[in-house]
Point group: C2
């Protein structure tokens, strides 16, 4: 179904799932995986743990391939142009493997391309399923990496995005690799993910897992940046709220987004706190999440919501599309 | 992968492929097929030929189902909102099976849904493949209908959209149904398709296979309606060019589209003629199709191009996006 000579790339701000699924998809279909940015510490941990070489940076690959003319790209773990590496043109895109919703900035091609989206908890589970349903065995190291990626994206199979297929694939991969203690592996990964946060400057902390969306509501048309900081220990992150907020303000202006939100996700207790920048963001968060409580003027407790894809983007989209919040933008329009 | 209780619907101006694939997908996954408009004569011929009951009209189904609240829809053979039945809300869409390119008006959902797009010549070939790869046997009548649909959408496996999978599925379905003469079946269908054209008033002739696209170019943002009139005998259609053009002008205003094109496709000789309405359309057609020849001020011979999806939409999109034509719209902007 997919071409055998494509470069497999994940979204900007690559996470473990996009990296693992890119490597695995290239092993399955052929082609070369490429990295769209620096790896986070969880990804580095998993690559080392399973003895896998991380993909080459896309820029280097382009340079090596005589300017990268005629390169074809298989998009892994996304299909929004806002998450596409800026060097990739739409006509270079030859396929999509993803587990996210179609949204307003879907990549557009003039000819039909294969698109495979399954509403599962991780892209790696989709690629693992393709291997096993074709009765093909991935390399042991690739299986381990996919296992780590499924545990990462589904928060050890506890996120609301987790499906029975993620569980089946995780257990099958654990069995095939002989790695039985999923809890232990998840715990090691979460620790690796959390450890680097303390050393990160505020900008990296926010950019580490940031996605930009474009939404079109009655009184709001524009871009929304949603950053997620997943950690086993939220206290040290929340203690830095002042410096995080001033960095958010700078990034909001720099990225030309209308709304900037950061969610600090407790991946052990499975609950989150939103850091809000101003009245627009506060109003949007309060309107989006029923039961949300303002802890301070800067922090809103949104309770047991942990998945950007499943718990955050849908209610925020609904609040904007149905105009359930009061943005400055809308009050200006009413003048 | 797909829900078992959805209503399977094709695009507006339903054709044989969207109707056959809707019926077959509901047989495979469960659910109920529904019709989004009147069937064309080729579809009526194929339903009768294979003894298949045509799907109920969507409006009637909604009425029967207590106002249709809580209905879920699986989109078959499309994913553009411009081709979605107006009674269907985006949040009711639970899946997509299609063989077209992602374009700017893709249906948008807040949660991820399964999407299966393969760049094959027909949606029915995709559903047939799913049956056979699951080692399931469709009803004989459903297999016959899918066979007819593949022959219809691929112009008897001769359209440039035809892939080896369309051929494999057509031959497998022919074998399973015991219907060996594909040429004879295609010829009967083409005759059925062409026969009704003479009796149609100009509006029905144009609306019979019309799709609306939304494009975003440097000097053009707007809607484009592209109608295709497939026939074994183009003469009687082209003899009506005057009345077709005055109807095109009315429909262009009524549908609020910026560009309106009608292509008369000779499905025996595999070549087409464009009927153009004004300077914008003429400029766009001449810029899009290399070697195009103006036969009269109203007709442009575009040579061996027969597939809207593969031969027409891509070059037209390119001409608009790259601004290779001169529209009145653009000259107004330059003032």
């Amino acid at each position: 179904m997919f071409p055998s000579d494509a470069v497999c790339v994940g979204h900007l701000s690559p996470d473990l799932d996009s990296v693992a699924a890119s490597i695995a998809a290239c092993e399955l279909y052929g082609g070369t995986p490429a990295a769209t940015g620096a790896f986070n510490s969880e990804t580095r941990f998993a690559l080392k743990h399973w003895g896998v070489q991380g993909p080459q940076a896309l820029e280097d690959l382009r340079r090596d391939e005589a300017g990268g003319r005629g390169m074809k790209f298989l998009l892994i773990d996304f299909q929004q142009t806002t998450q596409l590496h800026p060097s990739i043109a739409h006509h270079e895109v030859v396929g999509v493997i993803d587990h996210h919703a179609l949204q307003s900035q879907t990549v557009v091609t003039s000819k039909a391309i294969p698109v495979q989206i399954k509403p599962w908890g991780s892209a790696s589970a989709i690629v693992a399923f393709e291997f096993f349903s074709k009765k093909l065995q991935p390399k042991r190291s690739t299986m381990g990496l996919m296992l780590s990626a499924i545990l990462s994206d589904t928060l050890n199979l506890r996120s609301p995005t987790t499906t029975s297929w993620d569980r089946k694939m995780a257990h099958r991969l654990a069995e095939e690799t002989g790695y039985q203690s999923l809890d232990e592996l998840a715990s090691l990964q979460f620790k690796a993910k959390s450890e680097e946060l303390a050393a990160m400057d505020p900008e990296d902390l926010i950019a580490n897992d940031l996605k930009v969306f474009e939404l079109d509501g009655k009184s709001f048309q524009g871009k929304l940046a949603i950053s997620v900081i997943e950690t086993t220990d939220t206290e040290p992150v929340l203690a830095r709220v002042e410096s995080l907020r001033s960095t958010m303000a700078k990034m909001k202006a720099h990225k030309k987004v209308e709304i900037m939100l950061v969610f600090v996700v407790d991946i052990v207790r499975l609950k989150s706190v939103a850091i809000v920048l101003g009245d627009d963001e506060r109003s949007l968060v309060m309107a989006s999440f029923s039961g949300a409580k303002e802890k301070t003027s800067q922090l809103i407790d949104i309770g047991p919501r942990v998945s950007r894809k499943s718990d955050m983007v849908p209610p925020i989209t609904k609040a904007i599309v149905d105009d359930e919040w009061s943005s400055h933008r809308s009050s200006h329009r009413e003048l």
